[in-house]
């Protein structure tokens, strides 16, 4: 089905150029037009049409592309702007793919002509790889910049490196010999603010001074971030993944991936992370990478002119983004495949792979953390795990799932409140308040005062003999004569118990703050806080199990593995599993998540525990609600995103979904050759539909094709400017041959080149399951519904989404759709204030009306009771 239809479209587009070369097949088609009337049986017409299609195709293949001999047809050259999209519109994947195939054919056919054309075709073939290389380079470099700058600014809250201002705390003490085993980060070069301002390093005075400076810096970073976002690029806020998902599924948000968004997102991301808010840089990095992909695709005409091709680059870019965010190139590719991409052919897979590779390579050579790794919290263990540990791992999975479900509910409720009430009017104030609360509560607790990445690192790290943190304060009553890497389970010391208390408080704090932080108007990612929550919970569980095994090593489950003096529980591993489970609960990713965590740790043997935990958390989470946080946000904002994962199980028919409904007013279609320019302009002005079916004539109502509003407007405007003799009363002709006109009438305007002559059609009895499948798999924008060849109505992507929403409505209330507040088209009133007459609307029988996607349907939907 797909190939056939695509193929037809392709040929039609090709044939636009050759349309005027007089040939027998055109007569054939024309003949069909002439005999076409009510008396002719449908079948005959169909056959005629088929015959003409066949001949046309061979024609095109025969190389008639360049043979346009007609002198006057200026529309042979493409009009600039035709085939582009408005802001907040959905692209037509099929049309874009056809456009690309046609372009490809054109280049291929010219290739043999000259060396220059040959070079051009080579350049064209390579541009895909070039653009992903550039994207990878740029996102790697930007990730390096963000990492280094964010580390430095985070430490700026505590103090400053006097000998070299640009070093963060760790780098400051890099070469120092004064560090001790207990206090590893103390060195004379690093001055805390208290030391600098009041000259004391210890004591309550210095504590208060540090506290004040911490809050001061946190607030000023947060304020700078939100005001930069507000003044320069409002689109830079949030995590960006829901929007990127929507964009990749074929939505247009102009400026969302632009230069200013990139710059402001990069700059403010550092500020937001440094301000200590409970957010991460991973999601925004995906957005940053996609901005790079979009900007570089403008250098290559292959990608800049084709929205579908551009989305292939964006898929690769998002892989590069995750690759640098987690240092997980393969995980990045899988993330792009599993979570964000909509259309992911094999070619894109390879390009994503390559982009991820390049980005990871660049980041590695920048070496932002000085540990020769791509992420701060890289850990490496090789301690084994035992079968009975699956039980706590699964428990962690349950916790992750519960956390995910709770977070999604709470966060969506909070965001809905922000969206719908007055409280959303004060974004700056909100950020300041959240930052202030975070800073005030975070400082006293050492685990929340830390940068979240460092916290995760500390939780992941196993307690070897080299560790001296309070988390590793075990009572050491063994006499130390064993080799290092086999430390047996030990009883916990007081340090561990106090650390557990602090961790519990940190857990509650993180859980609450993350709910309120995700969605404020600064760049904010979700991965790191979720991982931190999971890691804290995991570490607590891990220590608990460890102590249990130590004190009750005679229990039958521990008996076999955990004898006295054996090392059987690794709390760090629990932290890792917990992190994966929580992340899985929130995002509902599975494969990519396990691969990301596995790449973070480099331990192949932990794949099974990770899989068990992630799967459990997905099950538990799905029991409370099927959608992940990104889908939930997409739904909250009402983006037109047709999820490929959901199944359509209802038994409605195309006729139930199509517009217009029975009660709707009669509607707008164009006829192929007896409307004037003025008629069409009036029609465009008084309706807000995005496209109009073109029919043979008022009498026959048979479908000829489909013309998009934007194309019509642009084509008429440019014809009025460039072509002579086009006035308001000129006939507009979509047919091949202009009808015979009276001698004194002005020249007709030929618009066949903007007509889509192969619109998708289904019959009115097609089950919606099939229609939904067609829309999902082909990425259609609209589909016409016919009955016996007569146009009955239209189904757009939005109609389908509304239909799905309607069927679901009794479960959850509908979010106000995004197009509620969209820019309106000019009012349907004439200059004199009276409604414009709808002269040219074909009055079909009541059922056969046309409507295109627009606002009215929303009201209709809202008033429908179920």
């Amino acid at each position: 089905m797909e190939s056939e239809q695509l193929f037809h479209r392709g040929y039609y587009r090709n044939s636009y150029n050759s349309i005027t070369s007089a040939s027998s097949d055109e007569e054939l088609l024309d003949g069909a037009g002439v005999i076409m009337d009510f008396q002719t049986s449908e079948d005959d017409n169909l056959l005629d049409g088929d015959a003409s299609i066949g001949t046309h195709y061979t024609m095109t293949n025969g190389g008639s592309i360049n043979s346009s001999t007609h002198l006057l047809d200026l529309l042979d050259e493409p009009i600039p702007g035709v085939g582009t999209y408005d802001d907040f519109h959905t692209i037509d994947w099929v049309r874009e793919k056809c456009k690309d195939r046609e372009r490809h054919r054109r280049i291929n056919s010219k290739k043999k002509e000259s060396a220059w054309e040959m070079t051009k075709s080579l350049y064209d073939a390579w541009s895909g790889w070039l653009v992903v290389t550039l994207t990878g380079l740029a996102s790697g470099a930007l990730a390096g910049l963000i990492d280094i700058a964010a580390d430095w600014m985070t430490d700026l809250k505590e103090g400053i490196c006097l000998s070299a201002l640009w070093f963060n705390h760790e780098q400051c003490c890099w070469g120092s010999n004064e560090t001790t085993f207990e206090e590893r980060d103390k060195c004379p070069q690093w001055k805390t603010w208290a030391e600098l301002i009041i000259g004391q390093a210890e004591g309550p005075g210095s504590y208060i001074m540090n506290y004040i400076m911490y809050i001061f810096w946190a607030l000023s970073f947060a304020f700078l971030a939100v005001s930069l976002v507000k003044v320069f690029a409002p689109y830079a806020c949030g995590s960006g993944i829901p929007e990127i998902k929507t964009i990749l599924s074929g939505f247009i948000i102009r400026g969302y991936l632009g230069k200013w968004t990139l710059m402001i997102k990069t700059i403010t991301l550092v500020l937001a992370v440094a301000s200590g808010l409970s957010l991460g840089k991973e999601g925004p990095l995906v957005h940053v990478a996609c901005c790079c992909g979009n900007i570089f695709s403008y250098l290559f005409p292959k990608y800049s002119t084709n929205e579908a091709k551009k989305r292939e680059v964006l898929s690769a870019a998002s892989a590069a983004g995750v690759s640098v965010a987690f240092g997980a190139p393969i995980g990045g590719v899988l993330f792009s495949l599993e979570e964000v991409s909509y259309y992911f052919p094999l070619k894109t897979l390879w390009r994503s792979f390559f982009a991820a590779l390049v980005a990871a390579f660049v980041l590695r050579s920048i070496n932002p953390f000085g540990n020769s790794r791509l992420v701060l919290f890289y850990v490496e263990y090789h301690t084994p795990w035992y079968l009975f540990e699956l039980l706590p791992f699964i428990l962690l999975g349950v916790f992750g799932g519960l956390w995910g479900a709770f977070f999604i509910r709470a966060n969506i409720a909070w965001c809905r409140r922000r969206k719908s009430t007055k409280f959303g009017k004060y974004p700056v104030l909100e950020v300041i308040i959240v930052a202030a609360i975070t800073a005030v509560i975070a400082f006293p607790n050492p685990y929340t005062r830390l940068n979240t990445s460092e916290l995760i690192k500390e939780l992941f790290t196993d307690c070897g003999p080299l560790e001296s943190s309070s988390l590793c304060d075990y009572r050491n009553d063994m006499n130390a004569s064993k080799i290092v890497d086999d430390i047996p389970d030990r009883p916990a010391g007081t340090g561990v118990y106090s650390a557990i208390w602090q961790l519990c408080l940190a857990l509650i704090f993180k859980i609450i703050m993350t709910v309120f932080t995700f969605g404020i108007k600064v760049p904010s990612g979700l991965f790191i806080p979720s991982m931190a929550i999971g890691a804290i919970a995991g570490r607590i569980v891990g220590i608990a199990v460890e102590q249990l095994a130590y004190y009750h090593h005679d229990w039958f489950i521990f008996k076999e593995w955990c004898e006295v003096g054996a090392d059987c529980i690794t709390p760090g591993l629990y932290a890792m599993v917990g992190a994966a489970a929580c992340l899985g609960g929130v995002t509902r990713m599975t494969v990519s998540l396990v691969v990301i965590v596995f790449e973070l740790t480099g331990g192949l043997e932990y794949i099974v525990p990770l899989m068990a935990a992630v799967m459990t958390s997905k099950w538990v989470g799905d029991a409370f609600g099927r959608e992940g946080i990104y889908e939930a946000h997409i739904r909250l904002n009402g983006y037109p995103f047709l999820d490929a994962k959901e199944e359509f199980t209802h038994t409605t028919l195309a006729a139930d979904v199509m517009r217009p409904r029975r009660s709707d007013p009669p509607l707008a279609v164009l006829t192929q050759d007896n409307m004037t320019v003025e008629d069409i302009e009036n029609l465009i002005n008084e309706t807000s539909y995005n496209g109009f079916p073109v029919i043979m004539s008022k009498e026959s109502q048979r479908l000829v094709g489909f013309a998009l509003r934007r194309d019509l407007t642009i084509a008429i405007e440019s014809a009025r400017k460039k072509q002579e003799g086009i006035v308001g009363s000129s006939r507009v002709c979509f047919a091949q041959h202009t009808p015979s006109l009276p001698a004194e009438s002005p020249r007709p305007l030929k618009l066949r080149s903007i007509l889509d002559m192969s619109p998708f059609t289904v019959t009115d009895h097609t089950p919606m399951e099939i229609v939904v499948d067609i829309f999902r798999k082909l990425g259609l924008r609209q589909c016409l519904v016919t009955h016996n060849g007569i146009v009955l109505g239209i189904i757009t992507k939005k109609n389908i989404l509304e239909h799905l929403e309607q069927l679901k409505q009794h479960v959850e209330p509908l979010a106000p759709p995004w197009h509620y507040n969209k820019k309106r088209y000019p009012p349907s009133y004439g200059p004199d204030g009276k409604p414009r007459p709808r002269l040219n609307n074909v009055q079909l029988k009541p059922i056969a009306e046309e409507r295109e996607e627009m606002e009215e349907e929303v009201h209709l939907l809202n008033s429908t009771t179920l």
């Binding site: 910049l145 780098q171 010999n177």
Partner: protein, 191 residues
């Protein structure tokens, strides 16, 4: 998409940064390598950290731990427990990155201050009171670029290079204003 003014310099420094990454790795400062040995407590000796600037092949306990805290026979046992890691960094990359970051941030802040504070005052001087009242009415002066529409209409009539730049800038301002409306006022996207 965005004004041209921000675009090209940015791309340039992006590439410069990528180039710098390679360069920084080569021009290794002698301070940029270290061999860090962490030795855990051993018998009555407390844990110790040793830090030395040696080449990678010399990075082991015997070369780095000086003076050796334990007598001869215990050295082997002591050293077995120590963990030595060879690490390198590029201080040039860090320095340059921080400087680039801070300068961009500074420029943006200046521009922001200009747009929000200075420009409205200039306009007040230039266009007198009548306009001021108008712009106060509709969106409020605290909103930067509040009257981009007016300027856009005015600058369209003239045409030289400077005006083109201004035109591009105004167009960008309009776009940002539109974005701001859809994000902050109507909450259509990104809420």
């Amino acid at each position: 998409m965005a004004a041209r003014c921000g675009g090209w310099p940015r791309l340039c420094w992006l590439l410069a940064l990528a180039a710098l990454a390679g360069l920084g790795a080569e021009a290794k400062n002698s301070e940029d390598v270290r061999c860090k040995c962490i030795c855990p407590p051993y018998k009555d000796h407390s844990g110790q950290i040793y830090n030395k600037n040696v080449s990678q092949k010399d990075c082991d306990c015997l070369h780095v731990v000086e003076p050796m805290p334990v007598p001869g026979p215990d050295v082997e046992a002591y050293c077995l427990r120590c963990e030595c890691k060879y690490e390198e960094r590029s201080s040039v990359t860090i320095k340059v990155t921080i400087i680039i970051y801070l300068s961009i941030l500074g420029l943006l802040l200046l521009y922001m201050v200009y747009l929000t504070l200075v420009e409205p005052i200039l306009k007040r001087r230039l266009f007198g009171h009548s306009q001021l009242i108008q712009s106060d009415e509709d969106i409020g002066d605290h909103q930067p670029f509040a009257n981009a529409h007016d300027v856009l209409a005015r600058s369209r009539s003239r045409a030289n290079v400077l005006n083109k730049v201004e035109y591009a800038q105004q167009r960008w301002k309009l776009q940002v204003q539109e974005q701001r409306k859809s994000v902050f006022d109507r909450h259509v996207v990104l809420s």
